[in-house]
Amino acid sequence: MSDLTYSQVDRDILRAMQAPGRLYYVVFFANLLVLAWGIFAWQYTIYRGLGVWGLTHPVMWAMDITNFVFWVGIAHSGTLISAILYLFRVRWRASVYRTAEAVTVFALLTAGLFPLIHLGRPWFFYWLLPYPQGGGLWVNFRSPLVWDVFAVMTYMIISVLFFFTGLVPDVAVVRNRTTGWRHRFYAFLAQGWQGTDRQWRHYKAAYLFLAALATPLVVSVHSVVSWDFAQSVVAGWHSTIFAPYFVAGAIHSGLAMVITLLIPLRRIFRLDTYLTQTHLENLAKLIILTGLIVGYAYVVETYIAWYSNNVPEWQRFVYQVTGEYAVLFWIMILFNSLVPLLFFVKRIRTSTPWLFGISILINIGMWCERFVIIVTGLAHEYDPYSWGLFIPTWVDISITLGAFAWFFFWFLLFAKFLPVISIVEVKEELPPPMKSTGSEA
């Protein structure tokens, strides 16, 4: 990679933005169909009532909230890679962070829908926002759901800012090479960027501080999400380890998603020089870490369920392991904490097919994890008389698929309209052209 020149970098990365081929259109419109179906399912829900979902008494949250947590989780890896690794001066982040950040933004766009979708009366969603309401009412700041509103909103705003800030110098490059409406579009995004020393100085400073702010933020967001459950008294939900456990889980799933997306991206746009095997390998190493943390959490949860001598706690655990949803539980154990251990083997973490396969398994596993936590906790609550089951209906499933389609809809647009790798940061990683050392650009 170090034998690249600046202009070569420009050419390679911008190549990805040329007019798309047939495959792209096929995928895009197929995806659009799924999205439409999902939207229909949602409208049907609004029209008939939540009864068309599999929800019941006592399981009043299931796939809706599962999807919410899942997508918020996906978002996290983006910020990890773009902000945290930036602070830790990890060099290899340069070529992956743009895509990771895009994943963050789009995942949040998806996650943000579910608090809305899951409401019994979605047309009143704005009652959850902090503004003086009828009769001098405000939102209840003691409610974890309000924390959610603040956390997710903040997260969304900050990541969008971060995303576009990072884009500005790159877009300037694109601007210079386009004409017509494209030119105007990128010119707008570029905000008149020219790379004067003044611009760069303040830009770098701002970027650093945004990163510094995003880091605690990302930790807080999934902590808050975890507290939607931990603050309750539900056995299996009320657990102090949830915050770090969810954060790790979030990053775990996010990294997997990034790998899942990078591999085809790299293949299709022929970016192997930039997205090298080492990049993926490093991501895989991170996955080992998060996988271990998640595994640790599983073990500790189990130990405490036993240690606490708390009957509902323990019975719920037994139910989770043996009950109707046991399969999902074991999938979660297998895919989230055991399968990733394969990455200890260098041959596996350096082989693209393995990486791709395992990353998808982790995505599945993490979705199951959220489902298992939410549903088994509620299904076997304190009053055995009111135990119940959640059985998904076609609507539940359609909305879930629709959410994926919604995510890919944005991602597909991104892949064609914005540089999927940061031009500037890649250049920064190259040794600057020096007459003295004879290195050229």
Partner: protein, 171 residues
């Protein structure tokens, strides 16, 4: 003195040539320089002797502002509504701190961006004449605002630091 509108732009293949040019111009007493580069480099900043960015101050103010807002918002509204839920105190500080935290970050982020735009004079409607698309690709540019009479000496200085080309702008 009134800032001269016209100026010269030298473009360089190499970073060190640029730095060279900067230091020579400085010695020659030209202060009003601006570098244009495809990538940031602290060497450039050091050469130009620019002060560190004040954006950090904006960030700090933003954070404090956010924290204050969070505290006021949560406490005031809760007192205003003043309904007991779950036997928790009307002013339940622990939950409120979470809101405070989020707003701290939010405002901090917003002001950071604001600070950057303000200081970097962005967004810019008109591209400065000195700008050349190659400065976003693989060339380094140096823009010297100076009186027309200084054009020749400056041009010479630039070329001595082997600038690829020297253009006149802003006439």
């Amino acid at each position: 003195m009134a800032r001269p509108s016209a100026g010269l732009v030298g473009s360089f293949r190499h970073l060190d040539s640029l730095l060279e040019a900067i230091s020579r111009l400085h010695q020659a007493g030209y202060r009003d320089l601006q570098a244009l580069s495809p990538v940031p480099h602290h060497a450039i900043d050091e050469a130009l002797k620019k002060p560190p960015s004040p954006v950090r101050v904006f960030t700090l103010i933003g954070c404090l502002l956010g924290a204050a807002t969070g505290l006021v918002l949560t406490i005031a509204t809760s007192l205003h509504v003043s309904l007991i839920t779950g036997g928790k105190p009307i002013v339940s500080i622990p939950p409120f701190l979470i809101i405070v935290f989020e707003l701290t970050i939010l405002f901090g982020g917003l002001l950071t961006l604001g600070g950057m735009l303000l200081n970097a004079r962005l967004p810019l409607v008109h591209i400065v004449p000195a700008y050349d698309p190659r400065f976003s690709e693989d060339r380094f540019g140096l823009w010297i605002r100076c009186e027309v009479r200084d054009f020749d000496p400056v041009t010479r200085l630039l070329e001595s630091a082997d600038a690829e080309a020297v253009h006149r702008v802003g006439e």
